[in-house]
Symmetry: C2
Subunit: 330 residues, 2 copies
DNA sequence: CGTGCGGCGTCAAACGTTTGACGTCAAGCG
DNA sequence: CGCTTGACGTCAAACGTTTGACGCCGCACG
């Protein structure tokens, strides 16, 4: 490869008539009291003229900091993780590079994946939606923040979605509307997020007249739609008037089934607030968990942790209930 | 930071009773004819026992190769890019790290962003959906592949979506169904992808009885739905019986508008095949561009380019038409 | 005039690898 | 026996920074 043309600090130094050290000091802003204003100018000029960019490997080697922030996530194709990623990217800026570590196969990661992240000598690591086993006994090797982690994990700073509030917002909204019979549909997942979504809502409506739940065996919205259509008539007969779903996709299935049944006046609420939810008819009431805000928050926290060495406090990103036509008094 | 406990090649060498060089040679598999099988064993044993991982910065510094594959993309929150990313991740494996470079603001990137990617000393770069100005006059500093790039850019190897085929598949499907009046809805974007989606379809149906087009001023599906609802009656009156949309989200808007209008028998086709499209009612016929396959392909090509030095040939990922209820004979 | 000091810079070691050049030793060959 | 050859390893330079330790110079102060 033709790599000899790369501009190094030496070229800049020659161009500015000074030593390599001086260049380094100026470039890193550690020149107070050691470099005259005039020399600083010359160096800066040379830097821009030659378009000098410090070799990151060399810098990392000596500082022991790769300037990399490493994000571990289950599945980039999932829009929620995409949101978080976008938020992280925005918060981090270009002082650091964003590295991605994905599960080698499938759509969920384990502790080995996290170790791969650590082996990159990252300045910081963000773990998005890790399962509980991922965190168990994990010894962080650098500032590490968990976004949307499982219930009890005080060991690491976290940015949490307010999954509990989600359940409360929904139940309050629905009971406020006069509903007394509830159905809940969600995957029978061991993922903590889904467990919490489920329990937060069910706990809150435990005293209602009727409560039905449907635990889906896997995460297949299409199959879910079929199952939903099968159980729904029974639910309605028994007095369910509001159906809450662990995900918008599931909500669409309910909407479809209701339409086919010709039933109206049944409230439907989803979670996740996919873009489509404002477009479908009826538009779907949903929870915006704030993935993007979570990403931004995690990015900021991590940066300040790296800079100041002060471990950030836990953050909870408020969930928002977006009320739409699917849960209006019919 | 407590970084003195890091295991280096020196520790391994001591442990195995040999020189650092030997360790390096063994670890990199360049030991044929220089290291005895027996020593190799000892080294390997020490490596696993001590859990030695070579310092990537040091390695990069001397080899000039960071082992990083850098992906530049407009917006991780967009599910299509997420798909590509997932494919890339799967193809690349863990021999390389995936770095992400995002636009500093907004949802589109420029050439400066790409230069940031190059300044990372990446082993390879993947440019996803770059605008034309991004590529103009760009001098690649390492193997670079363009995924879903603008029309004419022979300078760089590409993995193309078959946007043209998309238009053809759709028009053939619809004319086969007997349609003679067409409407097209898409953003009035300078993004080449959208231009091609538009022209590929319109060129193919140029001889039809009626052709209407709606160019949306920006990318706002909700506003689009309103505009669509406004123009649709006129279209239908003038003989449009099939509406094609540059995106599934737009298609949902059309579906909704038709429903509100009480009109039936109008075919609607979207592009992008979002997960919801199989769930909505009627399920939306759409084009699967194969983002994930494109990512995988790009990853493989790039890897082989890096390894063998042979510049890969251009690849075209076939588009698939997923026919659903929204475009069936009504 | 010596001494100290503050301002301005440079020196050179170190970071942890990789790799071409070079040893060493024993065996084989003429 | 001298020389080559091959098998097995090690040496040490180099990669491009960062940074603590030091030098130099001129001025103020005693």
């Amino acid at each position: 490869m033709l790599r000899k043309d790369r501009i190094g600090a030496r070229e800049v130094a020659e161009h500015a008539g000074c030593s390599v050290s001086a260049v380094s000091l100026v470039v890193n802003g550690k020149d107070s009291g050691r470099i005259s204003a005039e020399l600083r100018e010359r160096v800066l000029a040379a830097v821009t003229e030659l378009d000098y960019r410090p070799n990151r490997s060399a810098r990392s080697l000596v500082t022991g900091d790769s300037g990399t922030i490493c994000v571990v996530l289950p599945d980039p194709a999932n829009p929620f993780f995409g949101d978080v990623l976008a938020g992280l990217g925005a918060a981090i800026g270009d002082g650091h590079t964003l590295a991605l570590v994905l599960p080698t196969s499938g759509t969920d990661y384990d502790q080995r994946t996290v170790l791969r992240a650590y082996s990159l000598d990252s300045a910081g690591v963000v773990l998005i939606s890790p399962g509980e086993p991922v965190l168990r006994g994990l010894v962080p090797r650098c500032p590490t923040i968990v976004v949307d982690g499982p219930g009890r994990t005080p060991a690491l700073p976290r940015v949490d979605l307010d999954t509990v509030a989600a359940g409360e917002l929904i139940s309050d909204h629905l009971t406020g509307l006069g509903h007394r019979g509830f159905g809940y549909i969600g995957p029978k997942s061991d993922k903590p997020t889904f467990r919490t979504r489920r329990s937060a809502f069910l706990d809150r409506v435990a005293g209602a007249d009727v409560v039905r739940t449907l635990d889906l065996p896997d995460w297949d919205p299409l199959a879910a739609a079929v199952t939903t259509a099968a159980v729904l008539p029974g639910w309605l007969d028994s007095g369910v008037t509001a159906v809450v779903c662990a995900d918008d996709l599931l909500g669409y299935g309910v909407l479809t089934a209701l339409d086919r049944l010709g039933r109206t006046g049944i409230a439907v609420v989803g979670m996740g607030d996919l873009p489509f939810s404002q477009l479908c008819r009826p538009a779907l009431t949903s929870i915006d968990f704030g993935g993007r805000r979570a990403g931004e928050s995690a990015g900021r926290s991590l940066l300040s942790w790296i800079d100041t060495g002060e471990r950030p406090r836990r953050v909870r990103v408020p969930a928002k209930l977006i009320v739409r036509a699917s849960s209006e008094k019919g």
